[in-house]
């Protein structure tokens, strides 16, 4: 799990970790059931106090996004509906902006993008 922290903007570190995990879960970079880095591991990677990681993981657990299993580690919750709508929308909007920008660069108009999206969605649905 890669997390980029901004140490100088004044946003609390534990909250930046929460947002990063929420975003990665919502955008599918973290799959349901996937194991997150250990508390010590993430603290070592980010060069922060382990208690800051604990605080973030505890709040994520409270929000239902992760499950902390005694002696086993921290896992992304398998219950998909736990992704808050706001976070999900933000993640999708981000991907949409990237898609629109890339497509526009290649000279595609909006209709063409929508057509491709619809076609892809149909194809995914038809798969078993």
């Amino acid at each position: 799990m890669y997390i980029h922290l901004d140490h100088h903007g004044g946003e609390p570190i534990y909250r930046q970790i929460i947002e990063a995990v929420k975003y990665q879960v919502a955008s599918g970079q973290l799959a349901p059931g996937e194991k997150l880095p250990s508390i010590r591991g993430l603290a070592g990677q980010l060069k922060i106090n382990p208690l800051t990681v604990v605080r973030a993981y505890e709040q994520l657990q409270h929000a239902g996004l992760v499950v902390m299993k005694q002696g086993q580690g921290v896992f992304v919750a398998t219950n998909r509906s736990s992704t808050p709508v706001g976070v999900r929308r933000k993640a999708i909007a981000e991907m949409a902006r990237r898609l629109l920008a890339e497509a526009a660069r290649m000279g595609a108009d909006r209709q063409e993008i929508m057509d491709v999206l619809q076609a892809e969605a149909r194809q995914m649905e038809s798969k078993p």
Binding site: H7, H8, G10, P12, I13, G44, K47, I48, N49
Partner: protein, 305 residues
Amino acid sequence: MSDPVIEARNLTRDFGRLRALDWLSLQVWPGHVLALLGPNGAGKSTFLRLVQGLLAPTAGQVRLLGRPSRRLPADLCRRVACVGQDQDPPPWATLRQLLALQAGASPRFDRPLAEDLCRRGGLSLGRRFGSLSKGQRRWVLAVLALAAGAEVLLLDEPAEGLDPAARRDLYDRVRDCVNERDAAAVVATHVIGDIERVADDVAIIHRGHLVLHAPLEELREQVRQVALPNTEALPDLAAGVSLLGSIRLGQTLVAWVRCNGLSDDELHRRAGPRARVRTVGLERLYLTIAEHLSEDARKPTEETV
């Protein structure tokens, strides 16, 4: 909870008629990195020298690992590592000799770590200390302290003269030491950006006074910048909000406040619809406090008694 590693109570030190440290009380806990900030001459080095037991307090006391620091038994001394301002090893000593000396003084000396850090600094062990540049000397002193296996690290401007990559590397290693050994570190510096990344707590000293001591995460949570365009006087933000400082930039009034649990929405409501509320980094906060205090000092009623 475990005991504090450093405990200063009403710590005071005079040099002749100058009061270098005035009634300072603070504690440092295992697992924590404390950034000790303040302008030159604020009392940071005096504080660290008192903690090390190199100076005797004029009044008050300081305990290190539970004992008065002036009477620290030898076995506890080995659990403390320092980078000071005036404790350079002899210039003729080679790095290999310095490592051997430190290994003799510190039973838990981590030789592989020390050698690895020397290599990272591009220094062969045959080099003599006196042949090194200023930055390289600081690096070697930091290496000796980091590899000592100590529970307490007292570092006075350890990154002075280091290039940005080495500064970052050094502070990362400090954090690793603290995390891996549940050690405690005090880093005195006036270069804020690097230490902000790895510190847990911040203490700001100004003219010997401790003016702020708080966990960084709490400051990030509590301190806000409020920008008010086309405003003459600061509106009353009232109950629970403390003003840290303000400046005027053209038509805009910029204020820094500690909102003590007040939500951003509520702060915004009180400041008015045109106000812009945002978070503040440590550097901005430090400058605000320092300017605020210097202004106070210029008022004739202050500090003349």
